[in-house]
Subunit: 445 residues, 4 copies
């Protein structure tokens, strides 16, 4: 199943070549996907916030809409919505609701004050139907603007809004998964797909020569500011694993006392494991008959051949140390992925669960770089040399988070099709486990 068809004959990320019609079509498709992701959910499901890191599904619906209203229709200057930079993009711009900016601003200080993140789950109002009306109205207003000529800045902001909404599509899924898991009834989001019984290929390593390389986005096509500018890095020779670590391999680590051996862990990692009582990845439950894994299709017996997912950086790092290997740096990952940028084939966007690696592909090189599980790198999230965030509120998109988090690469089974690329930098705190985060090993060549 693919929820978003690729635009025929063109990459979705080439904004330069997008005509107004193309953008309008993509806008409709992205917005529709968000709503289709909510189809299996009740209004009640969409209210809750199961932890401060997560947001209610209803909030995702509203926030992504607020983003277009604020930054595309308006001026990005908040409730005032009008005076900066020659006025809003939409003629006659008025806010849908005077308080929605307060409720649905995520973290843009330049736009104005906002509702406390940890209290998003208390927003029973606006009701889901009111949020849907908000979406419909903003969609119509955006469509009206797209029917006219857009300047480059307008196109760029719309493109950013689409990519932003795609990021929230993935968060919506992972947040829903966490919320459903928080319910003792362990309800499923969707019926299970047909089982694909297959064995993962043996683990190998592919050597890379190192030397002076370029990483980062150089265009054409859309990229987030944190992927820029493209720049040179020196790499020592290294080798990258041919596929992610499987559940079965991870069980061997656990059975070897992995969670009780401090010498395998970063100091902060072992402290986090003890403080949180970690004894297995998130969503694993020990039953008399063996490990059960909670998935978006409900609980099912652990498939040892699938990639391990929902591990923190700390667990990924400890596992790697246990094997004698290490995690790759983000630059190593990107250089290795350069010859294999087939994200379109691997980010499936509909199964919502990582697949067993494909033996055939892995024989020819690395498998599953894109899709299935995000791959923790050992690289702290930091600005690239000469990085400059955008001016104004949109400059807060990425730059202010470049501290205390780690980079993940490659997308997951919950990433919308066409959203990732070789230069894409995702980032989470090292203790985060609710994303589809897995392990790709590296070692010295």
């Amino acid at each position: 199943m693919r929820l978003v068809p690729k635009p025929p004959g063109s990459s979705p990320v080439r904004t330069e070549r997008s005509l107004g019609d193309d953008l309008a079509q993509r806008f409709r498709a992205v917005r529709a996907l968000t709503e289709s992701l909510c189809a299996p959910l009740s209004a009640e499901d969409m209210v809750v916030q199961s932890m401060p890191d997560a947001s209610p599904a209803k909030w995702h619906l509203a926030h992504t809409t607020w983003f277009f209203e604020t930054f595309f229709l308006g001026t990005g200057a908040g409730a005032a919505g009008g005076t900066g930079e020659g006025g809003p993009r939409e003629p006659g711009f008025t806010l849908f609701h005077p308080r929605y900016g307060y409720l649905f601003n995520s973290y843009y200080d330049a736009v104005g004050p906002r509702h406390a993140r940890a209290s998003r789950g208390l927003l029973t109002r606006p009701l889901l139907e009111e949020i849907r009306a908000y979406r419909a109205q903003v969609d119509a207003r955006v469509a009206a603007l797209l029917a006219r000529q857009l300047d480059a800045r307008g196109k760029a902001v719309l493109e950013l809004g689409l990519n932003h909404e795609q990021q929230h599509q993935e968060l919506l899924l992972t947040d829903v998964k966490h919320a459903l898991y928080s319910n003792p009834l362990r309800p499923a989001y969707a019926p299970p797909p047909a089982a694909a019984l297959r064995r993962a290929p043996p683990l190998g390593f592919v050597a890379h020569a190192g030397g002076l390389h370029e990483v980062g986005h150089a265009g054409p096509g859309f990229a987030f500011d944190n992927e820029c500018p493209r720049h040179r890095v020196w790499l020592e020779p290294f080798a990258l694993a041919t596929r992610p670590v499987t559940n079965g391999e991870y069980v061997a680590f656990m059975e070897d006392g992995g969670y009780r051996r401090p010498e395998l862990w970063l100091f902060d990692g072992f402290a986090a494991a003890r403080a949180n009582g970690w004894e297995a990845p998130l969503y694993w439950e020990r039953h008399p008959s063996g490990w059960t894994l909670f998935t978006l299709h409900g609980p099912r017996p652990l498939d040892l051949e699938e990639p391990v997912a929902h591990v923190s950086l700390y667990e990924a790092d400890a596992y790697a140390r246990w094997t004698g290997a290490r995690l790759p740096t983000e630059e190593e990952w990107e250089v290795a992925a350069g010859a294999d940028d087939d994200s379109a084939d691997t980010a499936d966007g509909g199964r919502f669960h990582p697949a067993v690696a494909d033996t055939g592909r892995a024989r020819q090189g690395v498998a599953q770089l894109f899709g299935d599980v995000w791959e923790w790198t050992r690289s702290a999230y930091a600005p690239y040399p000469r990085f400059r965030p955008a001016a104004g509120a949109l400059g807060e998109y990425n730059g202010k988070f470049m501290c205390n988090q780690f980079v993940l690469r490659g997308g997951s089974c919950a990433t919308p099709a066409g959203h990732v690329r070789g230069t894409y930098r995702n980032f989470f705190y090292p203790e985060a486990r609710w994303q589809f985060s897995g392990i790709r090993l590296a070692r010295e060549a």
Copy 2:
């Protein structure tokens, strides 16, 4: 407006005289009231839990049903539901759902393990419609049992279940009020009633002689076990205020620096006030134009004549000390109320907001002992002499909470009609403010 009509010609609390038909009618009425209280709420409104002390409206609907299923239809022995005391009361008893006991058990350890209280707001499932089906099925099963002959124990458990559900009706309202207030949009639960502009009568005190008195419930009629047994107490002479403290009087305390003067406060109270940043009762908001009060009808300007509500014991105690008076003991309150047990007239059950005291009534004695606001006493909640909790799980109803809480008397504007009486003991932790809790002064005579 009165939501529950009094049964004609009889007090609702006289179980001895209740025939099966009478009980069946009361069962239907109480259950219907709970549902009518939810009528203004959306399914989304009914999911959230705005603080650990509160519960979602949906949870109240389910828990009160679980109470009847477990203790009236079943054996009170939990999921096993059958083997104790000669089997369940309902022939062929089976659980509606095997996991609902886990989800909707509040605190009965003897029944079995339970979902964490602070996580009740994560229960998007069962959906509201499923809870309604649960209620309907249990209602039908209870009705079927009520159509036959009930023994005294069966009648007593049903009576307890009805009183239990009435307590949750009040909690449902106060929990909804807190949840709506937690939303920056400050939505209303119900449209405002017609304003009754009147002035509170001057505050006076009525003297009582003291001496040897009896307090506690001696029947006939229903009472909770914590009201028993009736017993003697020696009281010194005292005087009780003719009405509760008003908002206007409380504002004077605030304007005299009440919240910043430690000498007026209990040590723990001043610490709580500082830790929580209290500067006014809960639901008061300072606006440039003056104080606004959030009510179940939405925000409105503070009416200085109304009884002050939503204060903690600490604030009540500090206010009393500021006036040179004190709070009454629960025994003083009960002895004073003995001659004035007209709860039926004062607990209105539909306005959901305390009324201004009635000048005419207060001239003849004390006003508003029942209804409007619960009145904090200085009495720590403790067992009466020779108190014995019931055997089995129902013994957990009251007894295990007799520590660290304080007694409140008299019911409030959110108490269902017919639920309170002169011997009724409500209890909350001293820092609790989300109930309609107010201040009745006392002093030495």
Copy 3:
């Protein structure tokens, strides 16, 4: 060993009959005892604060001195120290150090701001020798005043200061015990006394008739304000245990799963036990060879015949429920103790560890009402009818704590001789365990 000899021929608590000389002698004796209690400690031992409830020994030395300086030499009005009530008692009063009031005021808001309680352990300065100089100077100034004629108010304040210092003598010992226990080396405060191997007498109950009684202090002699006024109470018939519960009896409760059976506990108590991981009283440690008890003489094997000590109210209450009995109310305790006020014989003041009950004495009635272990009552600490705290800062001594704590009666092995009496009310939060707090059972007669 007795550290404070009783004044020959007179009770220490009869202030009316005290001449100046007598007071001066008692002042010297009490002050000297405090210092002798510190003799086994190094300066380093006297700095630390092992938990917020405790205070460093050095702080106790300084605070008790500050009390005399502030309330006896000065006016009780803080740093100003002069203008109220016609000036300070000491002619030419000046503060020893301008900042000591800030450092060593415990909780008197009327005197002025103060150092945070939980940070007392950071006060490496003033050095111990500076505190000793402070004590010596204040002692000399008090002695000079005592050499003249004192009015009744002066005598009363001095008497209060002596009783206050005695309370801190006990706290000093219990705080030191906790601090030493917090050290993995488990050092001893003093060498062990000679072992007294004997068996506790069998547990019995002595019946009391109930009826109208008087409790509270009526003079002559010193009492704290919280013991006043004497007043009537009505008691139902009851029976009081002939001795405190022993370690052996408590072990039986533990072995019967006492710490894992919620039905035996107050709700808050079971929550506290789980939150704190309680599985035994404080200072018990499980070793392969059996239970070890940490005492002020270091660790030693648990003596099953000794009274159990260092239990919280919650544990005392759960233990009582397990036996089918209950804790006494404070009024029951006081009425029962009325015929047995021999505190002078039981509070030993030098052994610092509870003794095994004496068989001979217990045959004739109750044993160990005074000394050995404080006995938890089920009574929340509350003001007596018509209680009025003193005016000014000294009114903060007791009154503002009459909330959330429970009354203990009878003194302990760490209480100075002559300090307790039948009307004495000690009070601690229900989870407190670092005092020598034990269990006296009661039941209905």
Copy 4:
């Protein structure tokens, strides 16, 4: 004042050229310096721990001794102290005290369990004199071993122990500073040095060309494992400030609302500033007459010309953004420092307070790279390519902390002479402020 004289004619870090005598002399000198740093302190001063990050001075004395006992005299294998790798280095090795390993192990899991870090301040025992006896005994045993022939491994471990002790000399000073500041009396550690009134030179930038460089330690001489291996990095052109930011410059940031403008801050930084109430660097206090700075010489008026110290990474980063510059990466810093490695001249080791930059020196290039204040870099602390920690417990020295911390470079006024070098990597969590941490700006060239 210089507390450690440089060994005549040789660098202290050239282990290859050290004879046994040289090592023995250096051992004596380093050990003596630690003790001389404690000379101004009382035993009481040396017990306290003012926050979990800090340690008592007494603990530093013991821990550094434990390090030599465990890793140099013993086998590094903990209490067993004997069986690994062919036995301990010291013939007839026995532990000074069987429990000291538990008390004074800082974080070496491979050595065994340990006392909780946050409870180090409770260790009144062993007494200071016992710790001194421990030091003396271990010193004598080490000296005896040094009198014989040491193999290379023995020399390396001793060298590590000396460098380890030097790190604790700095921590001892910064921990004492924090402890003294925690006392409302604000006592001084040492009398103030003569004031050196001078003005800081104007701020300039020195450009560097970028390109392929080598960083990291390549010998000869001692280095920590985290400085290795030396490796190539590609740098873009950059410029480095000629001196650290001064207090006066930082005041301008504060007066421009720096602490209240989220757009200047990393997201986590602004959250930390709000959560901790930061409005100025640590040790700054606002008085009516202006800012006062707490120093190891007590409080004194803020000197606007001195380098700002005691800022977190977050404040350093926000300050840099406010100026339009940024912090350097650690590689930029090291490359820039390469031509200016005169650490011996700048780390003064006795003044314990950062000095005003020297105008003369700064004209010729950058000033104060070494000494005065540690300089925050924007580089997260991470392993260098091909980094391998040592085998065994000593491998825990640095490697397991390579997460969540940031690198600081250059040493401070509290760093012992001869301890830093151009490749030296210090690291702290980004919110840490109790070190002498300051700001060196960088920008694109």
